[in-house]
């Protein structure tokens, strides 16, 4: 009786059912070549496991855990979630949504109609309001590239992120997206590779700006005044 490669791999994975498992075990015991092959399968499994194991030990990037509120964030219940739980009695997960970033994500997801046409959604607006180029978090979903004043004195900020990239300028209504792909509904569930649009956006920013980009101090002052 011979053992196929599929069977040997399944045996190595512990995925072979009886009685075949015992038969293969007997074959392996009797055949040194098979035993060597099995050893290679197991060694491969160990190497792959060891290769990816470090990721499990690394801290999750804050941008990612913040989507879910983070471990120490306060729990905010949504009515729907509460009803679900009451009705079904299963543990909550996604609606462990904390304040700050996660709350604004929830707004972006559930209340898209609140954002006026052409303006940054609440999540992006929060980043535009709060993040400073110099001190923004590594891995923040939206990265502010630079801030500047355009002709007329309005503050504008170039941003780049997984969901959208562009330039937004502050006016009486909010952050008006004036360039790039910003403000649009994210494609493919918000998954768009960032990076390549950044160069184009920087070029546009240069065209729009009335002067050089704000320094870190100027940026902090502008934020303190609400970018007005």
């Amino acid at each position: 009786m011979s053992v196929t490669r599929e069977e040997l791999a399944a045996f190595a994975d512990g995925q072979l059912d009886e009685p075949r498992r015992s038969e293969v075990a007997a074959e392996v015991a009797a055949d040194p070549a098979l035993a060597t092959e099995l050893g290679r399968h197991r060694a491969l499994k160990q190497r792959l496991a060891a290769h990816f194991a470090p990721i499990l030990g690394q801290p999750v990037p804050t941008g990612l855990s913040a989507l879910l509120g983070g471990p120490e964030a306060k729990v905010v219940d949504f009515t729907a979630a509460r009803q679900h739980r009451a009705a079904r009695g299963f543990p909550r997960w996604g609606w462990i949504v904390g304040p700050a970033l996660a709350a604004s994500l929830a707004l972006a997801v559930f209340l898209p109609q609140r954002t006026p046409e052409g303006y940054a959604d609440p999540r992006l607006a929060a980043a535009l309001d709060d993040q400073l180029v110099a001190s923004q978090r590594e891995g923040a979903p939206t990265r502010i590239l630079l801030s500047f004043r355009k002709r007329g004195g309005q503050y504008c900020r170039a941003f780049s992120g997984a969901a959208h990239s562009g330039i937004a300028c502050k006016d009486g209504t909010g952050w008006r997206v004036e360039a790039g792909a910003g403000g649009a509904a994210p494609e493919h569930g918000g998954y768009k590779m960032a990076g390549s649009p950044a160069a184009a956006i920087m070029a546009q920013a240069q065209d729009m700006a009335a002067g050089p980009a704000l320094t870190a101090d100027q940026e902090a002052t502008a934020r303190a005044r609400g970018w007005r």
């Binding site: 399944a10 989507l67 996604g94």
Partner: protein
């Protein structure tokens, strides 16, 4: 879901073949899961549900990117697999990375789900959306290719 993040990141890093792209993928998956959480059926495994979602997002994105002919540019450097290792270890880890890269997507995801994530063949087939026999043969082909790639170094 929070507790699943490390595992989601691991699968994403393997799928996207790059840790930083993996984190982008992970983020997209979490956002979509939040959007679609009403579709998750209590009593079924949340991890499988999210892995399937991640895998589908990855495939959609790969196709879209191929169409657009875009190159990859990571938002930030992110984590680096094996970065803590010494020179020798780094070289060895590089061999695994390069070996995985040589595999077609369908074989790579089968190897990752079963060998790294520890799913049963049936569970992995459910995530990929193919018959168990198909999963099994993809897995064996992927494994054999990796074994051949690594040669006697396994």
């Amino acid at each position: 879901m929070l507790a699943l993040l490390p595992r989601l990141r691991r699968f994403a890093a393997g799928l996207a073949r790059d840790p930083a792209d993996g984190d982008d993928l992970c983020q997209a998956t979490v956002i979509r899961a939040l959007e679609k959480r009403d579709l998750w059926q209590p009593g079924t495994r949340l991890d499988s549900w999210m892995m399937r979602m991640m895998r589908n997002i990855w495939i959609d994105e790969s196709r879209a990117r191929t169409r657009r002919g875009e190159t990859f540019a990571a938002e930030d450097a992110g984590l680096s697999v094996g970065s803590s290792g010494g020179q020798e270890e780094a070289v060895t880890l590089g061999v695994i990375d390069r070996g995985l890269r040589t595999l077609p997507d369908e074989q790579r995801e089968a190897v990752l789900l079963v060998v790294v994530e520890g799913y049963s063949y049936k569970e992995a087939a459910g995530i990929v959306g193919c018959p168990v026999g198909t999963l099994n043969s993809r897995l064996v082909r992927g494994r054999d290719a990796l074994l051949a790639w690594l040669g006697d170094g396994v």
